[in-house]
Amino acid sequence: MTKIALRVNGDLCEVETNPDTPLIFVLRGSLGLMGPKLGCAQEQCGACTVLIDGEATQSCVRAVAEFEGKEITTIEGLSKDQLGQTVQNAFISLNAAQCGYCTPGLITTATAFLKKNSSPTREEIQKALETNLCRCGSHNRVLAAIERAIKEGHHGQ
């Protein structure tokens, strides 16, 4: 067990963990952040997506030690971010989820993408979401929600 200092959602926190532990288990287990979901533990489904220095990153494989000194943002942190809220509200307005298990990962991936590209085409949005699976078939609503968030015009930091 090692002490590791992490910066999560703007707060500095120290966790005692095996440094090989994939980040998601530390976020959920040590920090109680249940937003990132465990889906495949193989970086294939995107349910565990968080932001690392603003980049959408799957948290289910890479060891926590890799993320020391980086800015980690989970869906809980995005709930305090203006663009993150805009995307969340667009998902609510369009009922863009069924079971909702993939939703935090989708919102996180989409928000990171919109921060870089404030006026993407639908094809570009689809491509950005290729990392994330949804099994209920809410895809069209998700795409429409992201387009709605773009229209809301609150993005572009």
């Binding site: 095996n18 532990t21 994939p22 288990f25 959920r28 287990g29 109680g32 952040l33 249940m34 937003g35 990132p36 979901k37 465990l38 889906g39 495949c40 533990a41 193989q42 294939q44 489904c45 349910a47 989970t74 869906i75 809980e76 709930s79 969340q88 998902f91 609510i92 009922n95 989820a97 069924q98 079971c99 909702g100 298990y101 993939c102 939703t103 935090p104 919102i107 949005i125 689809q126 491509k127 979401l129 290729e130 994330n132 699976l133 949804c134 099994r135 209920c136 078939g137 809410s138 895809h139 069209n140 609503r141 998700v142 795409l143």
Partner: protein, 717 residues
């Protein structure tokens, strides 16, 4: 005895509706919300009959012993069973409350108006609230009366209007919503350790490894070939499960049967039953007679569907605590009472000593690993009394051990006369069972269907499947076409000796049967040079079927077709008594024989619409999931086990190939509401295959429609 099956089981009004503190109303039902928004719809129905703001209503999460027992949340039955039960309950409550209010306000019930629970006497303006009439803790003490007046649709304020789905705020903000997120003090994390495949049995464990695991504080649970680990930290449990698997020696001498599953379905022994009016009969199955002499065209075709998996994005999980000889379990099972009965039998406990609380999982789409995971957790909890056990399956567990939707083969023959009318129709369907949920049956069938119990030192054998004789049940769901054919021969063939574990996957047999029927209708139409929609209309006399087919066809025809673009359409009424749906597809087939989905438009009639956006979401989700099955999915295996073990080896549809999706809903406010969750899947499959034919002239009869299959079909033609 009530007409509504849920009310027959649970007649007391108090079990459905209770007034609570702070102006809240609690509604209990026994159908679980699995993302299909049954709780949103039920709340709207109760709010409407009681004239209450839906925001005042809390839908209770089902718990055994408390919730009405409404069986399984399946078969697109929830609106008809639970929706109608709650409607009658709310209407009974309203009549009762107005009678109480009338005596309180010295007037007659017909002189009262209700606005959000405030009952006002029209003449005197005196008022009383529902909560004054029913203080917290008081009870109605009456039974639900199905003859209590129901509000006419013309007066609806909530039903049929857009409403936000319940719980969206929690979903978008990542709150602990799912069973996988449950946290209790002193909790242990557990993982099962499965054998390499179904028939493997544990020979031994390397003690140097197990001793080491124990010294690290890992608890190993073993009973026969059932293995699991528990640890205080989740990643330690993950690692321990991997290490324990490596410590195990397995007898794998009996492998899984290999080969072409479509061929096997025709070659293996089968039990054949004639299906008449949607129901299997004991009649000797009639032989296929010669095709009619006056036929202008006779075609025969065979269609194949592989094993498909539910593929929940969140692997199955359960929480269990065993304390004072009682088990408390949190499960995402779709049938908590059936699970309790099966588990009590399997674990030799009194059902009264087991409480199962529903907790949401990821979308399940049928009988996935939920019930098995609950049993895994119970077995671990029994070995570690007093500690909450949160057991989760891995992705590998989920892919390799969930009960799949069975592989199916459909053999059709049809004859058309000079006038373009079908005069003879034969459809034989071959499949393993779709009915493997843990429900009671001969030879302890219930517990025998709980996977972990098959691997104990005193194992419960897997029950032998018996043919489901219900109307439009498993294999023969939608085998009986809605078309008016003068002569049909419909045969269901239960093939038991198939190698993979199977059970209920969304639509059961309907997806494959409709794929076959609706592909074949296009083949026959093409054979006689007819338009596929006109050809269908000639055989339909149900105006609601005709309306959805025309609506989807008209919408698709407004779209321009470019080069390599194909249009296809298909239709079905789910179980011939639920939602009518026609799906139009536009797609492109590339030179590499890849399919790009461009557009999917469904026209549907689900009777009276309660939650229009929720209904649309179900139709849309059915299209997308079925498109994924149709284009990409096939569970593969060899003698050493399942080879579809993750999202690379079992790919599903991703965002890049999502078509534009549109729904046209035909609302029929004066008709009963109909379940819609499974209506679009079958039509979607056939519409895609028909569109591929339109684009390329290639008829692909074997799913999935991968480039290899399309190329192979081109060579066959």
């Amino acid at each position: 005895m009530a007409n509504n099956s849920s009310l027959s089981t649970t007649p007391g009004l108090d079990q459905w509706i209770q007034f609570r503190e702070n102006g809240r109303l609690s509604v209990a039902n026994g159908k679980v919300d699995i993302g299909q928004r049954i709780s949103t719809a039920v709340a709207l129905i109760a709010a409407e009959e009681l004239d209450l703001d839906p925001a005042r209503i809390d839908i209770q999460t089902p718990v055994t012993g408390v919730a009405p027992d409404e069986g399984i949340t399946s078969g697109s039955n929830s609106m008809e069973e639970s929706g109608n039960a709650v409607r009658h309950a709310a209407a009974t409550a309203r009549r009762h409350l107005l009678s109480l209010a009338a005596s309180t306000l010295d007037t007659s019930p017909d002189m009262l108006e209700v606005d959000d629970g405030l009952v006002v006497a029209r003449t005197t303006n005196r008022s009383v609230t529902y909560w004054d009439l029913m203080p917290t803790g008081s009870s109605f003490g009456i039974e639900v009366d199905e003859s209590a007046p129901i509000k006419p649709a013309s007066e609806h304020k909530f039903v049929g209007k857009f409403t936000p789905a319940r719980g969206m705020e929690d979903l978008v903000s990542g709150h602990a919503h799912f069973i996988q997120d449950l946290t209790l003090p002193n909790m242990l994390h557990a993982r099962p350790v499965r054998p390499p495949h179904y028939h493997s049995r544990l020979l031994g464990l390397d003690e140097s490894i197990t001793n080491r695991l124990s010294s690290e504080g890992i608890t190993i649970v073993q009973d026969g070939s059932f293995l699991a680990v528990a640890a205080s930290d989740e990643y330690s449990a993950v690692r321990a499960a991997e290490r324990l698997f490596n410590a195990a020696t397995w007898d794998t001498s009996i492998g899984l049967a290999e080969g072409d599953m479509a061929k096997r379905l025709l070659d293996e022994p089968r039990q054949s039953l004639e299906v008449v009016d949607g129901k299997p009969t004991d009649n000797p199955p009639p032989a296929l007679h010669a095709s009619p002499e006056d036929a202008a065209l006779t075609l025969t075709a065979k269609y194949d569907r592989p094993y498909h998996m539910h593929g929940s994005v969140g692997p199955s999980a359960a929480m269990a605590i065993y304390e004072n000889r009682k088990l408390t379990i949190w499960s995402h099972s779709q049938g908590i009472y059936l699970l309790r009965a099966a588990m009590a039998d399997g674990l030799e406990m009194d059902p009264e000593d087991i409480v199962i609380k529903h907790a949401p999982g990821a979308g399940c789409y049928g009988h996935n690993g939920a019930d098995d995971a609950a049993t895994d957790a119970a077995l671990v909890a029994k070995k570690i009394p007093g500690r909450p056990i949160l057991l989760k399956w891995t992705r590998d567990n989920e892919h390799a051990w969930e009960p799949y939707g069975p592989a199916m083969t459909m053999v059709l023959r049809g004859s058309v006369d000079q006038a373009g009318k079908v005069i003879d129709w034969s459809h034989e369907t071959y499949s393993d069972t779709h009915m493997n949920r843990p429900r009671a049956g001969a030879n302890r069938a219930g517990p025998g269907r709980l996977l972990p119990l098959n691997y104990l030192s005193a194992p419960l054998p897997k029950p032998v499947a018996s043919p489901n004789m219900g109307r439009h049940a498993g294999i023969h769901r939608n085998l009986d076409p809605l078309y008016k054919f003068p002569q049909t021969r419909l045969i269901k063939n239960l093939v038991r000796s198939m190698p993979l574990r199977t059970s209920s996957l969304r639509t059961l047999g309907a997806y494959a049967n409709v794929f076959a029927i609706e592909s074949f209708m296009n083949e026959l139409a093409h054979g006689v040079g007819d338009d596929p929609i006109e050809f269908r209309l000639r055989h339909l006399d149900d105006p609601r079927a005709i309306a959805v087919l025309k609506a989807a066809g008209d919408r698709l025809s407004t779209r321009n077709k470019g080069k390599s673009i194909g249009h296809g359409i298909a239709f079905a009424q789910y179980k011939n008594n639920k939602t009518y749906a026609a799906v139009g597809i536009e797609l492109e087939v590339t030179d590499a024989a890849e399919i790009n989905l461009l557009y999917a438009g469904a026209a549907a009639d689900a009777g009276q619409v309660v939650d229009p956006d929720g209904l649309s979401a179900q139709l849309e989700g059915g299209i997308i999931q079925a498109a994924s099955w149709t284009l990409y999915e096939e569970v593969t295996h060899n003698s050493a086990g399942i080879t579809s073990r993750d999202w690379d080896t079992y790919p599903i549809l991703r965002f890049g190939n999502v078509p534009e999706v549109e729904t046209i809903i035909i609302n029929r406010p004066s008709d009963p509401f109909l379940g819609a969750g499974e209506a679009t899947a079958g039509p979607t499959a056939a519409a895609i295959a028909n569109a591929v034919f339109d684009a390329t002239g290639i008829r692909v009869r074997r799913l999935p429609l991968t480039p290899d299959r399309i190329k192979a079909a081109a060579l066959d033609d």
